[in-house]
Amino acid sequence: MYLFAEQFLNGLATGATYALISLGLALVYGVLGVLHVAHAGVYMAGAYIGIGVYSVTGNIWFAMVVSMIACGFIGVAIERLVYFPLLKYPPYVPLISSIAIFTGMEELVRLVAGPSVQTFSLELPFPSFDLGGIHVSSNLMGIYVITAVVFFLLWFITTKTETGLAMRAASQDMPIAGAMGIDSRFMVDFSFFVSSAVAALAGILVGIFYNTVSPGMGAIPAYKALALIVVGGLGSVPGAVVGSLSLGVAETLLIGYAGIPLPRDALAFIAMIVVLMWRPQGLLGKRS
C-alpha cells in the first residue's frame, strides 16, 4: 500500500513535468498550427542555462528566472525567424524545420557543454513530510507546488485577462483578430514566450527530480509530448494537461506493477493510437 502511494506520487510528479512541456506545445499549436518539436530543445536548453546559472550564483530561484527569460527569447526567435515565414507552405515544411532546429540545438549543447551527463543535485526549499509512513520529499513537494502555481497563473491569464482574450481571438482567426485591433503578431510572440519559459522551468524541475541533465534529455519528451497533445486534442491546453498527468501516473504504475514487456516510452504512442481510433479529434478536441 505504501509502495503504491509512493509510486502514485512519483507518477504524479512525472505527469506534472510532462504537463509543463505539453501545455506549451498545445498553446503554440493552438495559435500557429505548428508542431513545435524544437520545444523539447528549448526545454533542454532551459535545464542547461538553469544548471549554469545555479552553479555560478547558487540561487535556484534566480537560476529559474534567468533560464525562463532566456528560453522565452529563444522561443520567440525560433518563431520569428523560422516558423512565421514558413506558414504559407504545407504543414510538413515547418514540421521538418522544427525537427532540424531540435537536432541542431541538441548538437550545439553537446559541443558546448560536453556529451556527458551532468548532475543537478539540490534540495528545493520546500517542506518535506511523512504522512502515515508515506514520505514526500521536498523536491516532490516543490514540483507539485510550482506546477500548480504555473497552471493557475496560465489559467488566470488565458481566461480572466484581456491579454488572454486577445490570445484566444488570435488563435481563432488571425486576420479577423487583426481587423478587430488585436496585435496578432504580438500575441503569437507572447504565446511562444510564455510556453518556452514554462518549458525551461520543466527542464530545470526534471533535472532536479532525476538529478541529471544531459544533451539527449529532450529526445523522449519531444515525441512523447507530441503524442500527448494528440491524445488531449490538438491545441487543447486542458486536454494536454489531463493527458500528461494520467500518462505519468499510468506509466509509473504499469512499470511498477504490471511488468509489461514494452518500454514505457512506447506506451504514450500506443495510448495515442487507441484514442485516435476511438476519437479522431482527441479526448478534449473539437470536431473540425
Binding site: 515565414p85 514540421l95 524545420s97 537536432t103 550545439l108 503524442a227 494528440v230 504512442f269 493510437i273
Partner: protein, 293 residues
C-alpha cells in the same frame, strides 16, 4: 576502393528507400515520419527468413514484399483517415512502436540485434563488394522505373490530384483513402526491398538502425533533393550520403552541419534543389529551356 564501393552501396540502398518515401510524401502528399519502420520490417523479415528459415535472398524476397504490403495496409488503413498533423504524429508512433518491438521481443534478437545473415547468392557465387553494389544498382534502377511509371499511371495522377486539392479531386470521383493507401503500400514495399538489401549488406542488424532519426534522415534526403520530383531522391541520397564521408575531419560537427543544412534548405528552398521554382531548376530552365519535370 572497397571503401568507396561500401559508401556507394549505402547511398544506393538509401536512394531505394527514399524513392519509396517519395511516392508517399511527394506524390500522395501524405507526410510520413515513420518510414524507417518499414525499412526495418523489410530488413528484419529478410534477416529472419534467411537465418531462421534458411531461405535464400531470392526465395525470401516475395515473402518480404508480402509482409511489408500487409503491414503497410494494417498501418495505412486507420492512419490515412487522419489529417496532416495527426498523420505525422501517428507515423512517428508507428516508428517508435516497431522499434521497441524489435528491441523487446526476444524472437527479433532484442538489443543484441540479429546477426549471421548470409550473403546474397546469384548464379552460384556469393555477391560481395562491387557485385553487391551492382545488384543494388539494378534494384535502384527498377525502383526508379517503378516510380517513373507510377507518377505517369492513372493511379499516380489520382494521387497527385489528391495532393494538390483533395476536395476537388474527390468530387471528381477520386477516392482519397483508396489512392493514398495504394501509395502508402507501394512506398512501404519499396522500403522493405531496401531493407532486405540492407540486411544482406550489413549481415548484422540492430533495432537502432531503424529508429526515428533514420526516418528524419530519409525525409530530409527527399526534402533536399526535391519532393515529388523524379531525380530528387537520388540527388538527395548522393549529396547527404557522400557529404559526411567528405567531411570526415569535421566528424565532431557533422550532425550540427547536417541539421543546419537541413534547416537552411527547408527555410529558404522548401521545394528542394530540383523542385519547381528552385534555384537549380531555374538555372537548368534558363540553359535548356522548355518544360522539365
Amino acid at each position: 576502393m572497397s571503401y568507396i564501393i561500401t559508401v556507394a552501396t549505402f547511398i544506393s540502398i538509401q536512394a531505394i528507400v527514399a524513392y519509396g518515401l517519395n511516392i508517399i510524401v511527394g506524390y500522395a502528399g501524405q507526410i510520413s515520419l515513420g518510414h524507417a519502420a518499414f525499412f526495418g520490417i523489410g530488413a528484419y523479415s529478410a534477416g529472419l527468413l534467411a537465418t531462421k528459415a534458411g531461405l535464400s535472398f531470392w526465395a525470401a524476397l516475395p515473402l518480404v514484399i508480402a509482409i511489408c504490403a500487409v503491414i503497410g495496409i494494417i498501418c495505412g488503413l486507420p492512419s490515412l483517415r487522419l489529417k496532416a498533423d495527426f498523420l505525422a504524429i501517428t507515423t512517428i508512433g508507428i516508428n517508435f512502436i516497431v522499434e521497441s518491438l524489435f528491441l523487446y521481443v526476444p524472437f527479433f534478437g532484442g538489443a543484441l540485434g540479429l546477426g549471421g545473415i548470409p550473403r546474397v547468392v546469384f548464379l552460384g557465387n556469393k555477391l560481395k563488394g562491387g557485385e553487391f553494389l551492382a545488384l543494388c544498382l539494378v534494384f535502384l534502377a527498377l525502383v526508379m522505373f517503378l516510380s517513373w511509371w507510377f507518377s505517369r499511371s492513372w493511379m499516380g495522377l489520382a494521387c497527385i490530384s489528391l495532393r494538390e486539392e483533395e476536395t476537388a479531386a474527390s468530387s471528381m470521383g477520386v477516392s482519397p483513402v483508396k489512392f493514398k493507401l495504394v501509395a502508402f503500400v507501394l512506398g512501404s514495399v519499396i522500403a522493405g526491398i531496401g531493407g532486405a538489401l540492407y540486411a544482406h549488406q550489413m549481415r548484422f542488424i540492430a533495432p537502432s538502425d531503424f529508429g526515428f532519426p533514420v526516418s528524419v534522415m530519409l525525409l530530409s534526403l527527399i526534402v533536399l533533393g526535391g519532393m515529388g520530383t523524379f531525380w530528387g531522391p537520388l540527388v538527395g541520397a548522393i549529396i547527404l550520403g557522400s557529404l559526411p564521408e567528405l567531411a570526415r575531419p569535421l566528424m565532431e560537427y557533422r550532425m550540427l552541419i547536417y541539421s543546419l543544412l537541413l534547416l537552411g534548405m527547408i527555410r529558404f528552398q522548401p521545394q528542394g534543389l530540383l523542385g519547381e521554382e528552385s534555384v537549380v531548376s531555374r538555372i537548368i530552365g534558363r540553359h535548356v529551356g522548355g518544360d522539365r519535370s
